[in-house]
């Protein structure tokens, strides 16, 4: 029963939440109002967990909610904690697979159409407008990450601050990722390095904003 609910709900979210993982958040919040196995407290914990673990946000959040659905439903039914954890993994899988399914189907159809019409003037014209605009959108995404990290920028308070340690580290990373021999390194290396520096500074002089 819980499996059918999850398939229905997450297929629906996957179908209607366009524009990336965070777009699923309002839908998940609505689930918490509707079902006993998910609460608003869990939602805020879910967001924190999803942001501090790797992978697409939408997938992380679907896995978390699916897990909670199974775990809490079977706990309510009187199963042992370990059995509930196993059930949780099966419902997590159900939710995640259901979330992915609609976009998988849509993309398969779109990909086939693109192949078919890739020589059409109309499609090529449309993409000639899309490419520079997407570059602009990516720049906007970069700005939102950078403004939060370096300037604590928040539109709610309409203000911010200069986080000097973060700014200095940002400048250093900008140089490191662009000098000749290091430039070719895998992005992973830079991310791992930055995480290590983050821990080091956090435990020694401390981050201003963290």
């Amino acid at each position: 029963m819980i499996y059918l609910i999850l398939i229905y709900e997450f297929f629906k979210i996957g179908l209607f939440a366009a524009g990336g993982g965070l777009a699923t958040l309002p839908f998940l919040s609505a689930l918490a109002d509707k079902y006993p196995w998910l609460t608003q407290d869990m939602i805020s914990q879910m967001v924190a967990l999803s942001e501090s673990t790797p992978g697409p946000l939408g997938i992380n959040m679907a896995t978390y909610s699916g897990y909670m659905a199974g775990y809490n439903t079977f706990l309510e039914a009187g199963h042992s904690v370990w059995a509930c954890r196993v059930f949780g993994v099966t419902t997590a899988f159900t939710a995640t697979a259901s979330l992915v399914m609609p976009s998988f189907i849509v993309i398969m159809i779109v990909a086939r159409m693109l192949e078919k019409y890739k020589n059409s003037k109309l499609i090529n014209d449309a993409f000639s407008g899309l490419r520079p605009a997407v570059a602009g959108l990516i720049a906007a995404a970069a700005w939102s990450v950078i403004s939060i990290t370096l300037f604590n920028f928040s539109s709610a308070t309409f203000g911010g601050a200069f986080n000097f340690k973060e700014i200095a580290f940002f400048a250093l990373m900008m140089v490191v990722t662009n000098v000749k021999p290091l430039k070719k390194l895998h992005p992973l290396v830079f991310i791992a390095f930055a995480a290590a520096v983050g821990i080091l500074i956090g435990y020694t002089i401390g981050w201003g904003a963290a």
């Binding site: 501090s52 992978g55 897990y67 407008g129 500074i201 956090g202 904003a209 963290a210």
Partner: protein, 203 residues
Amino acid sequence: MSEEIRNNTAKEERTSLWKLFSAFMRIGAFTFGGGYAMLPMLERECVDKTGWVTRDELLDYFAIGQCTPGVIAVNTATFIGKKERGFIGAVVTTAGVVLPSFVIISVLTALLANFAEIPAVKYALHGRRVAVGVLILNTVIKLVKQKVKGFFGYALCVLAFVLVALPPVIGLPFRISPVFVVIGAAIAGVVRGLIMRKRGESK
């Protein structure tokens, strides 16, 4: 026709399913935040290292991912897998990008629910965020240098940036959804194409 078939078979010999799966597993396992934060990794794994797609195609997939349902990282994975190995390729890349998240979240939720509260995790995340900002910025610089050309290109690029980034900066209470920017840019491209062709005809 026969050449096309030969090209296709040559391609299928080149890209093994395991390579597709492992590349997308790396992308899923080591990028935080998904979506745009994945772009530097996608670029390295799918453009520079393997040549599975061009930078243009990657941008196209992002544009499409912006207005189709679902998680952008997953949409892009599906596209690239489909392009390289058809249906089975799409299944493999999609599974690859989802698997690390699924395993990590399941394990942490079961055993370490307060993972996000651990100081070391917070500090690492803080450092990583700086690196992600740097990596995306580098990607943006490269993209603008290579892909944005002419007045039309720069105008659209700046307009898209301003429309999405500006409202929160100047304290406006609303956001402009990237979906509208994408649709608007596509229409602008089509209109420009029509005008240019008409001019070409009249000459």
